[in-house]
Amino acid sequence: MGETFAEKLLARKAGLAGVVPGQIVVVQPDKLLTHDNTAAISKKFYQIGVERVANPRINVIVLDHVTPAADEKYATNHQVIRQFAAEQGIEAFYDVGEGICHQVLPEKGHAWPGALIVGSDSHTPTHGAFGAFAAGIGRTEAAAVMATGNIWLRVPHSFRIVIRGAMPPRVTPKDLALHIIGDLRADGADYRSVEFAGETVRDMSVAGRMVLTNMVAEMGGKNGVIEPDDKTRAWLQGRVTHEYEEIHADPDASYERVIEYNVSGLAPQVAKPHTVDNVVPVTETAGIPIDQALIGTCTNGRVEDLAAAAEILRGRHIAPGVRLLVLPASREVLLQAVEQGLVSDLVAAGATLLNPGCGPCLGAHQGCMAPGETTISTANRNFKGRMGAKEAFIYLASPATVAASALTGAITDPREV
């Protein structure tokens, strides 16, 4: 019997001939990602009673949640992290303005096919888009990884999701991800490794693939993965400078479920408040008035996302009374968007450009809502109270749908503008 991606990778990392789902393995992660929570993690690290991190080369720290610091408390938090990185000799430290951890980590060459990445952020599965095994963990275990260099992982059962068909115009990987979550539900892939395959995934850009693996967190998955190909290798060229060995699932691997979707008839999708699996075609929400529109986050803050929005908003202006916030996912994305004229298109159309970061998505920094307000966002979560007031409403959609809605002032089908 062949091995799934998760079985093969975890067996190799654990130094075992083979593993079975449910088995506990102790492994050494290649990378440990932490963000603004590094200050709290460093406190737990010192609480353990060791002085030095086991291997500073695995640490990747990106400040992105409340950047630049909103007040003295956050500033002190950042200061503690800067000191910790310096004291521990952690070179992969990315300060305010570099971007969202899930964009910066691969951009700076810390994700590669066959890598084992753990991160103290639930959207760590994003890095599976590069053929890595990437899973979210908590703060205490991030501190334990710093102290020991290793972590226990349960070998997951695997799903294989096969996507076929060509994406219709103005239908995007985000719409596909929402559709899958609406179908499988918020716990549909709880503790599962989710492999995405099929011609549609092969045709997708690297940025589009990152949307799928990012959203695995919203179906409960432990990790999501896409088999590396020439597109992956081209993207990583010049970023990852060391050798790596790709890990591919065996063709005769055993899956708990194989699920097929065909996107050729897919409409733009919207997740309604207050759960990500409350998904309907955009047509069912069309006309709901909005106060704010947000384009960005670790799900949809990349160049192709800003381009999709600019394509709709270029030479036009957002509706009166609507606030459109745009946050590029990283400095690199921002620079490309400037060079391509996307920033001027969006700002001229009425957008407020924020620095690369992820604060508004979790109500931690900028873009919060007052009671009774509604935001349509490209983010990945619409939980009650997530963007400020618990009496506010969050709809999730693609950059095209968010841009079209900002244009009209109400949720709008992007195929109609």
Partner: protein, 165 residues
């Protein structure tokens, strides 16, 4: 860890996410566990903090703790004295955070047999949750995971492993 826990129940539904257990707006502004406890379940049940008693047990539906990896969503409940959480299923990172913070958990359908204010007894050795309307069984944790829980959480476990303190 006690092998048997009896407590008064707070019953909740499916897919309770970490944002309503511990709101994201506090994740970087609140660092003291006692202060975290004051915001426990703030956006789910505003009556909880004022009325919870040490040793009370949360009994919930499926996918308890979905969403963010924030460990404060476990810390706030542990700090306020919640004795255990019983849910039909747990979101993965939440499950890990409970083990690492030594907050006992059991995955079974006890939510079908109990209402808020009634009592349940969790027997970790037998793998059972006894409710007023039936007994529910849950699978034992893997021995490696049980060891972390029994040592009092991941920090004492790592200290033991590294031979510090």
């Amino acid at each position: 860890m006690q092998s048997k826990i009896t407590g008064r129940v707070w019953k909740y539904g499916d897919d309770v996410n970490t944002d309503v257990i511990f709101p994201g707006k506090y994740t970087y502004s609140v660092s003291d566990p006692q202060e975290m406890a004051r915001h426990a379940l703030e956006d789910l049940d505003p009556t909880f903090v004022a009325n919870v008693q040490p040793g009370d047990v949360i009994v919930a539906g499926k996918n308890w703790g979905c969403g963010s990896s924030r460990e404060q969503a476990v810390t706030c409940l542990k700090e306020i004295g919640v004795g255990a959480i019983v849910a039909r299923s747990f979101a993965r990172i939440y499950f890990r955070n409970c083990i690492n913070q030594a907050l006992p958990i059991a995955a079974c359908d006890a939510v079908d047999g109990v209402e808020t204010g009634e009592e349940v007894t969790i027997d970790f050795a037998a793998g059972t949750v006894t409710t007023p309307r039936g007994t529910y069984t849950f699978p034992p944790l893997a021995p490696e995971v049980m060891e972390i829980l029994e040592t009092g959480g991941l920090i004492p476990y790592v200290q033991k492993q590294l031979g510090v303190k």
